[in-house]
Subunit: 197 residues, 2 copies
DNA sequence: CTCCAATCGCAACTGATGTAGCTTTAGTAT
DNA sequence: ATACTAAAGCTACATCAGTTGCGATTGGAG
């Protein structure tokens, strides 16, 4: 069988993907049901079950799409600025009324579904790899020690934001984001985020 | 109406609480169903629905119990040791085959249920308040600057562990826990976790 | 000891989620 | 054009979480 890029299957897939994102933005992961997605997309319920299996499957595909999209790693000229921009980007992403529920849904789905968790893992592996470039540039400029683990710096910078969002349910302000960036930077400079240490 | 500490209601409550924890330890939050808890506890399904509403309600009560239990804040004599012991405690808690699924269930339930999220928030407010004592002792010993925010140090120390567990789904080793402690310490010493800064 | 209020057990029911078997449609090859 | 095949549509059904109304049991008060 051949590829059918403009065929019915492709159209159905697009309609479902679009409907999934719209439903997520409106009702979050809680309100994401196969029935709603089917009705919104004009695709029949059984078709959605056959191709995606469940709402977790819909999330999986959305994640793979999100992973494919490159994301704007900050490049302000110095590490502090880059890290602060990065954490702000994360904080604002979750605060955004349209993007926030979608991103939150990814985390919620992963907690319930193994496959979604794998997809989310892959997503963040990709994000870390991209973001680490910011740290490597800083090392090249001599702003950070040579033996620093670039992805570890990224993890430490963003972790406190996620911790507040999904564990302690404390508010996350722009100041929190900046503080997280500064703390990660301090740790990186001190050698605590070294590659081998 | 009076309290009836040894009455039927109390017995029913105990049976359900115990069954909830047992089910969580065995099957995790995924496998926690009202029917299973009802059967295991010998309490009728309807009763569980009436008193707890749903599995999220069962989690809520388990959380309140967990919050009431004091937890062993390390006191080794120096900050580095205390922070490392703390992060190890968290890491080992989630790795423990009996405790891990229960703790994980708390996070999973909070993502789906508002009330569970509030209960989890309260739980961590309490944990932070207790753990912050470790930082205050360090300040008193002159190991950390006076203006450091004690609870912020705790957040930064444990956040990377939770980030790996519930966001990126990367493994969490003892070395990761220690590194997180050391990084938080470096940040605290640098002044990045100051109370007002 | 008797009665009362609260709570629990029970069985029948509702609604939503997910499945099975079959028919129809759309895209492709001859 | 015509025939072939993969995938989508459709109906009917199965399953299960959660609810409701009522009768039974429990524990305490007078």
């Amino acid at each position: 069988m051949e590829r059918r890029p403009g065929g019915r299957s492709a159209r159905v897939g697009d309609a479902v993907r679009q409907a999934t994102l719209a439903e997520l933005a409106e009702h979050g992961y809680q309100g994401l049901t196969v029935d709603n997605v089917a009705e919104r997309s004009g695709v029949h319920k059984t078709t959605v079950y056959r191709r995606w299996g469940s709402t977790a499957g819909l999330i999986r595909e959305a994640l793979q799409q999100a992973e494919a999209e490159a994301w704007p790693v900050p490049d302000t000229g110095d590490v502090r600025g880059d890290l602060r921009a990065l954490t702000r980007l994360v904080q604002e992403g979750f605060a955004d009324p349209e993007l926030g529920p979608v991103s939150t849904a990814f985390v919620a789905a992963a907690v319930q579904d193994q496959e979604a968790a794998r997809a989310l893992h892959a997503f963040y592996v990709s994000r870390h790899a991209q973001s680490a470039g910011l740290v490597r540039r800083a090392v090249a400029r001599g702003e950070l020690p040579e033996d620093v683990d670039p992805e570890e710096v990224i993890r430490f910078a963003v972790a406190p934001i996620f911790y507040r969002l999904f564990v302690t349910y404390e508010p996350v302000t722009a100041a929190d984001a900046e503080r997280a960036a500064d703390a990660a930077l301090a740790a990186a400079r001190s050698g605590a985020l070294g590659g081998t240490s």
